[in-house]
Point group: C2
Chain length 466, copies 2
């Protein structure tokens, strides 16, 4: 990134943005990293808009000066999705954090992109509604849309894909467009909403979103359920999903993950393969679901399901689950984590996890396995010393083998973390070069100068349309 | 369409396709119409491929000769979506009608595009699974994907959007791409699956689809439920949806629609505003749902819910509902129907239907109202004499007013029929010219010569990118 272009852009924006334009090395360093293993690179400047019009102004100015624009929410993405790898301007949307509307009648809300999922649910508290998508971190909703995020509730309530109704997006030339509508369904034209959802800021900047909300269930039943074997736990999940039992959450933690959570969140769970479950419905309905899954698990080595009956106990349980990443990191002083995720068809989940587990063991790595197994999605948290090159190389091999296996059974290289810079090669392996070339042609048409989050999704060595 | 180009294309294809290449006027006339009010125009030739490779060959040959390609499934679309309005080649995919795979373990199937929804469900009969999306006609699954179709089950099981996992698509230059995967969720790259779903054959030809299946419910409870007033029926729907009761089907028929169905399907229902409902779940669960909706309806003028307990009685009920279109047409000898649909946020459903109803009455039109009200989606079936110009003009006015109202409350100009040629202007009104221009840029990038289903979605008078 030529520094004179950056300086010219900073000068062009300084009047309008004053102290919302950050240029000091200390300030820029705050935007250098993210929850990823891809190294750090500070942007050349940061600007914090407060309105759609300001985003348009910034995007236009950056286009005029040929400076890359990298959107930023909470900085919690896991594949370097928001890293300024080509330098340029970091567009920090976290100050656009207003919930603009909540419609209980239409079970939807309208938010600015910097609203976080926890903030939204806090604002919904009095309404009897909630927003279900919950990645581990308290991510921003704009970032969650951009990476097509997911979480523990997806098995029942869907991912961001199913929960975004409409968007406002600023295109590469500063034009503002609307996509979708407030209707639950539509067949009016190309589905631009779902083209932008998951595009990781490479096609436009999401500046407003209309999201589906869900009624809080009348009854909730949650608990932890230890199993004799990992395979028994997974077979229980598979049979539950295949039976169509509408579980709300069904999470797996292997013994290493339980150990990490026990320590970090002061829990006292048996260090065995464990399902964290949650059932939603009427009081009778959740009892019925419970009986059905217990009947399945009893045949497969399921132990006693420890119920977290009180709201507070449930909150503690899920907080512990959501803190699994820092919990894993805290297992070894000075360690960092590298989190990877794949997603496979449910019938292949057991073999996928077994394959990952044996690869981890073979390499002698510390890497808890856990995940949203009801969706066929699981994570491996590699716990690594930053300078242990041999371990990093081994983790790369395990990650590659996991992806290879997932693709060989019709799965995907990432269920919910996105491609970023970490899985660009896997994107081609998954979809084939023809489909990735088509994605690239759409990218080049919408962002002909390549200024929107450059280097993401497509590597320079990958097919270029033009 | 210059006839020498068509003749040259026919010559190029004749060796490979022999009697699967149709050129006689009588044969072509079979592909002239569809269930639409947009007049007839026969294609210049028809070809009936039996494999993906043959589709590639045809698309390449058509590109070489500059001849438009219009994909065709069952010819049941309602907005002229499959009409050869610019002439050219009709690509009849109905001979690609094999169910390639059913995976009960992964709750999915893989189908060729010409499989119809009834055919698929017949083939699934022994598996305990079903495919829920059910537009009125026995449409092909390829056509249903292309128009993002929906039906009576969408309120619980989603539309085609939620039930398509992966596609194979032949692009304008004959390239074959794969989109999506067999995993339930993925954040790997742009969501090409949902770009093609709803693109009405304008971006590529869908030649294979991986679809989600659902377990047949343990218990089913269906019935008809007459109300004193249309508003009472609609308020019951709104309250049911807002309460989060997971009804499987919730259809509204106004008295005119009931009258039509009574006559056509030899039913004997009271000619009052009526909800057709269906509940899925465990035996106890459906009783619980029934009690909840009856409690809601009792306050709103709901009469006695007549249950169709037997499988056969249920089948008769839904068959009658699905035949509402021919039933409406049969009300007046020599009449034709023009079906329109809009979809609004659920809280605005009552006013939207009241607005349509009073516009119909004011114009003195015969036009039953019915629809998938649990989604906020409803249809008006205009019953018209082909040559009654005043009535057609009046129907246009009612249709325009319905769209205008739907858009004014944040709804969409079509919930499930698509844009075709009938709603091109409404597409711009709904999304704005900037968003439609973006759609057009994607179209022009993927189909630079404009040969894939030309004139659809975008009128010539609408913004062109290049």
């Amino acid at each position: 990134m030529a520094q004179e272009h950056v300086r010219a852009l900073a000068a062009a924006l300084s009047d309008s943005f004053a102290d919302r334009l950050l240029t000091s090395p200390a300030a820029l360093a705050q935007y250098a990293g993210s929850e990823s293993h891809h190294g750090e690179r500070a942007p050349d400047l940061v600007v914090r808009p407060q309105s759609v019009e300001q985003v348009q102004q910034i995007v236009r100015a950056a286009a005029d000066h040929g400076v890359p624009v990298v959107p930023w929410g909470a900085g919690t993405s896991l594949e370097g999705n928001a890293a300024a790898v080509a330098g340029g301007l970091c567009l920090d949307l976290s100050a656009m954090d207003r919930v603009l509307e909540v419609s209980a009648d239409d079970l939807l809300c309208v938010v600015e992109p910097g609203v976080t999922r926890e903030q939204l649910n806090a604002e919904l508290r009095a309404t009897g509604l909630f927003f279900p998508v919950d990645p581990g971190a308290d991510a921003t909703l704009g970032g969650m849309i951009a990476t097509r995020a997911s979480g523990t509730n997806a098995v029942r309530y869907g991912t961001m894909r199913e929960n975004v109704l409409a968007l406002k997006v600023v295109l590469a030339d500063g034009t503002l467009i609307r996509t979708g509508s407030r209707a639950r369904k539509s067949s009016a034209g190309y589905d631009l909403t779902h083209l932008f959802a998951g595009s990781e800021g490479t096609l436009g900047i999401i500046v407003e979103a209309t999201l589906r909300l869900h009624g809080l269930p009348e009854a909730v039943l949650a608990g932890t359920w230890p199993f004799e074997t990992l395979d028994g736990a997974i077979q229980t999940v598979i049979a539950t999903i295949q039976s169509g039992i509408p579980v709300a959450r069904m999470e797996l933690l292997d013994p290493a993950a339980i150990r990490a959570c026990n320590r970090y969140a002061q829990l006292d769970l048996p260090e065995r393969p464990t399902l964290f479950i949650e059932l939603h419905g009427s009081p009778a309905g959740v009892q019925e679901q419970l009986a059905m899954i217990q009947a399945i698990g009893a045949e497969l080595g399921g132990g006693e399901l420890a119920r977290a009956a009180e709201t507070e106990a449930r909150a503690r349980l899920w907080k512990a689950r959501h803190q699994a990443l820092p919990a894993a990191r805290a297992m070894v002083p000075g360690a960092v984590t590298w989190v990877t995720d794949v997603c496979v068809p449910i019938s292949r989940l057991a073999e996928a996890i077994a394959q990952a587990q044996s690869a981890i063991a073979e390499k002698g790595l510390l890497a808890p396995i856990l995940g949203h197994v009801g969706d066929g999605n699981f994570h491996v948290f590699f716990v690594l010393h930053p300078d242990d090159e041999r371990a990093w190389a081994a983790a790369h091999e395990v990650n590659d083998a996991m992806i290879e296996h997932a693709l060989s059974v019709g799965g995907t290289c990432t269920g919910e973390h996105g491609i970023g810079i970490g899985k660009r090669e896997a994107l081609v392996r998954e979809h084939g070069s023809e489909a990735v070339l088509l994605m690239r042609r759409i990218k080049d048409e919408l962002d002909p100068n390549g200024l929107l989050n450059p280097m993401k999704l497509f590597g320079d060595s990958l097919p270029r349309a033009r």
